[in-house]
Symmetry: C2
Subunit: 365 residues, 2 copies
């Protein structure tokens, strides 16, 4: 499978190698062998980096208590397609023994996006949490909470504020904006909250843009060592889901190249049809030279999200690269798989919605 | 009474005039006539400045809904003697129709002084709140709450953080320290919390060192006008209680010149005996020239705290200034009054302690 381990083409690969260097991260590939039955994203290098990765692999191998945590920002009733990767990571750890926490960042949504706490709560219960379950979380094994109701999180954030200086904050975030500080310190508190019950390793699967929160959290852990003795949290980083127009990152500002959930399959298939591919200008040329697979966004979509089976993906890769498969045929495969995925997602979402009152929430007095 | 309206001697007066100018405050004396039955501190210029003072005088005169709010920092089981002035101010407004709020800044005590929330709560219930009642607050007319339990306050603080920049914060506080930001924004939220129920004027009696919080609160009010429409809060400022050694401010770092509550009367009388006075070097000289009353810290103590009756104070003033009364006699008067005050305080404190379970706390669900 080495041929398709790098999903980004040569230009983008350099960016990720640079990120690893700049942020002082560990390349995930070094530790891949330590994880039992790695998921699609791990196997294919979409999980490209991490911090303190071995601590989590050890916890899994030794069957020790650890947790996985992620947050929901209930700002619009849509999930960016890339978020699906984070949920698949959570699911992997959940299936490998992690105590699972999913928090609703309703305070952040209220302050930064003007979503009232009531509206944030409603959106989380009616859409986001059911969507996370539809994408694979086991509701029976997941603990949910709302930031705005979790006094312990708010208390920790307040306390942690005394542990850093504005200059240190600026060194990590490139800003010392008060709103960003509240937001970041509340996220640090979220990340450490599961350790109030018990000190233990934890893993936070995030996009690379969240890396500063992990760094700040680990700094705060070091500075509150005497009082709290938290275990420094680990993290893993997913690559961006590339935009269908060939850019690094799917962005809502370019809706024609960005997939969101839920979205109807007709609309998605149309976007796939217009995607940037590695197909040649003429059929004759394509048959002769084969596809430039590194530039093909539809192949990326299959690799990151849609083609679970490694052998199947390898065959698609080989056929497409050799010119045996046209980009039209590739798009049809992607469209078919996407249609199936979206139908399943809708059905599961509806079912999860109906069962939302059975979820396990942290109860606060 | 004009002769004794200025309690500070010429040097210190300039400082307060400068403060009024530098902070853009209103001299309280301009509005004194608008307040019915002004208390001792107002009459004697110890309340020396304010912000939006007329708004409160109007509310009193028109019998409109308004509130007074103050905070308790439960860091040690002692009250600085100067705090007594703030409580007397609260009492004045309470007796003139104000809805009264006293909050326990247990979050601040935890973050800044390492007092756990449990310990802060215990100290507040066993000492601070009873002491406030012993000093004149009507427990039936006062609403208490703990910062750490007031989710609405924590939510507002988070939201307000997005309304200012680090530079603006630094312009007000001379610092952009994250801990100070959390603390300040939580105090802003405390100040505005009574308006969540109903928009109305409010007055915050504070020491001059708290002035930045009022300024920040009024800025935040302006910036959240569309969403909240809070009434900008008013404030009044007390002068410092001067140290018995002649310095501007009683400070715990100089315990021999600082009075705290509770303290036994023997100890206090000893401090009074060693206080800086305006008495002359010899009795003959004193009789001939009279006391330099502007430099006399014992007279200040009588004026600010101990001699309620204006006529009595005037007589003491005249006798002492003329040389008829010696500084020894003045000290004896102060010691007698202080002893009586401390005995009454102890008795009232004990009684209030026994009734602490009957207090009116904000209930949070």
């Amino acid at each position: 499978m080495t041929k398709i381990i790098d999903p980004w083409g040569s230009v983008l690969v350099e960016d990720y190698a640079k990120l690893i260097k700049d942020f002082g991260l560990e390349p995930f590939s070094h530790y891949l062998g330590l994880f039992p039955n790695p998921n699609r994203l791990m196997r294919r290098g979409a999980v490209f980096a991490g911090v303190d990765v071995k601590r989590i692999a050890d916890a899994i191998r030794k069957n020790e208590d650890y947790y996985v945590l992620s947050g929901i920002m209930p700002s619009a009733e849509k999930i960016h397609f890339g978020t699906k990767m984070v949920i698949e990571d959570i699911r992997y750890f959940q299936e490998h023994g992690a105590d699972t926490y999913v928090l609703v960042a309703d305070l952040e949504a209220a302050a930064a996006r003007g979503v009232t706490l009531e509206e944030g709560k409603k959106r989380a219960l009616e859409f986001y949490i059911p969507a996370y379950i539809a994408l694979g979380l086991d509701p029976k094994k997941t603990t949910f909470y709302f930031q705005s109701e979790n006094k312990e999180v708010m208390h920790l954030a307040y306390e942690f504020a005394k542990k850093i200086t504005a200059n240190e904050f600026e060194a990590i975030y490139g800003s010392n904006d008060p709103g960003k500080m509240f937001s970041a310190l509340t996220q640090v508190a979220d990340i450490l909250y599961p350790q109030l019950k018990k000190r233990r390793p934890g893993v936070i699967p995030v996009g690379i843009d969240q890396s500063p929160h992990i760094r700040l959290t680990r700094d705060i852990v070091a500075r509150t060592k005497t009082k709290y003795g938290f275990v420094p949290p680990s993290s893993i980083y997913n690559k961006y889901t590339p935009s269908l127009n060939g850019k690094l990152k799917m962005s809502k500002s370019e809706p024609e190249s960005c997939i969101e959930l839920p979205e109807d399959s007709k609309s998605v298939c149309k976007k796939i049809k217009n995607a940037v591919t590695g197909g040649r200008d003429t059929l004759e040329e394509h048959r002769r030279l084969g596809a430039v697979i590194e530039k093909d966004m539809v192949f990326e979509l299959l690799k990151q999200h849609l083609a679970d089976d490694d052998k199947e993906l390898q065959k698609i890769h080989d056929d497409y690269k050799s010119g045996k498969m046209t980009s039209g045929e590739l798009k049809q495969i992607a469209c078919d798989k996407m249609t199936r995925f979206l139908e399943e997602f809708s059905a599961k979402l509806e079912k999860a919605r109906q069962n939302v009152d059975k979820l396990k929430f942290v109860s606060f007095n």
